[in-house]
Assembly symmetry: C2
Homo-oligomer: 220 residues x 2
């Protein structure tokens, strides 16, 4: 496992109204490293959400969470042209979709993130690495989380195996600062946090707690 | 296998401009049974694409092809409130996502369609049926198709097994009227056709060829 840097903090904007998402971005962007136009926001407002976030945050790493399953080059063109740095492709997509999305991403100096949901195998992971992909997102889904599913040893083992293959991982799904120590052995690129930052009066304090926890575990 | 009716013809609108999609809908809607706001269109224009299609086509069966992977109830609320009859959920989604999307769909007298991509098992299919889901979409992906992948016996066997479990199937991926006879043993709910209708000067003639082929195979 090679670690490039300490994990970053990613703000996921999953609003159904673009104005509310932009307000949250204005309020929180200085306290996070990466901003994500979430799937809910992108379906609510279209790719204009990505474009408007880019206009407001010209220097920020910006993610279009499209969870692409097909039409990789068309959707990548849409996302990167609007200003995204990274775009997500769901693990269930055919390898051809990863290849076509990756090709467009490279043209924009962007990156593709593999969104891991449901059934996938380490053979899939090796195929993705062979294409040149370097980032994956490990999920405890919003719905799974609502049903009380926790991070399991199986999750942690899978993340470690992906780390060892050379993937930087973004970890998401109702994470709290108290949970971070269990990810110490994993090459975490980012922790993705949404409603804990956007729907809380203490969003800024929560962001600070994440940064403190990250610094204390991964050092500066 | 129970067959409720002859297969229908579904127009997939995968434009990156809403005005072009609406023009295609105006031109073609009388020649198809179902209209789909495709993923590309939904990310380009947002859920407003579904809303505007519903306003123009108040009586048409309308599909929101969101390929939902998480946040099932929020995205279902977005799609059905805007006027969709059916919304797609990707097979890689957790069962909890299917359950929450299905619950919202029922409230709107809508239906969830399972979009089959990548790895899934017949055990998954049985779980989806147990939730009450009745529709699945069998795909030869745009990118897989561009790489020359054909309908295989394995595809046809899987479709037959899903039919036998009680799923009505929508079949998509560069289908031609000449290919329809191979689906005779399958409970096809719809054949989904996009660019062959929208990007051809002969779109109307192609729609007529599909209807003729369907009538000659499945009878009227």
């Amino acid at each position: 496992m090679s670690r490039s840097s300490v994990p970053q903090l990613q703000l996921a904007l999953d609003h159904t109204r673009l104005d509310a998402a932009l307000d949250a971005a204005d309020r929180l962007h200085e306290h996070v490293d990466i901003v994500e136009a979430g799937t809910i926001l992108c379906f609510s407002a279209g790719v204009d959400a990505v474009r408007q976030l880019r206009q407001r945050l010209p220097e920020k790493t910006l993610v279009a969470d499209f969870k692409v399953a097909d039409a990789g080059s068309t959707l990548a063109e849409l996302a990167f042209e609007a200003g995204a740095n990274w775009m997500t492709v769901i693990c269930a997509a055919p390898l051809a979709t990863f290849a076509s999305a990756h090709e467009v991403a490279q043209r924009y100096q962007g990156e593709i993130q593999i969104e891991l949901f449901g059934n996938w195998t380490m053979d899939d992971a090796r195929s993705w690495r062979a294409l040149g992909l370097k980032q994956a997102i490990y999920h405890r889904g919003r719905d799974a989380q609502a049903q009380g599913q926790r991070w399991s040893q199986q999750d942690l083992d899978a993340m470690k195996a992906l780390s060892d293959l050379g993937f930087g991982l973004s970890v998401t799904g109702g994470i709290t600062p108290q949970e971070l120590p269990q990810f110490k052995e994993i090459d975490v690129r980012a922790f993705i946090v949404g409603r804990a930052l956007t729907e809380s009066a203490n969003g800024l304090a929560t962001a600070a707690e994440f940064h403190q926890a990250i610094d204390s575990i991964w050092g500066k």
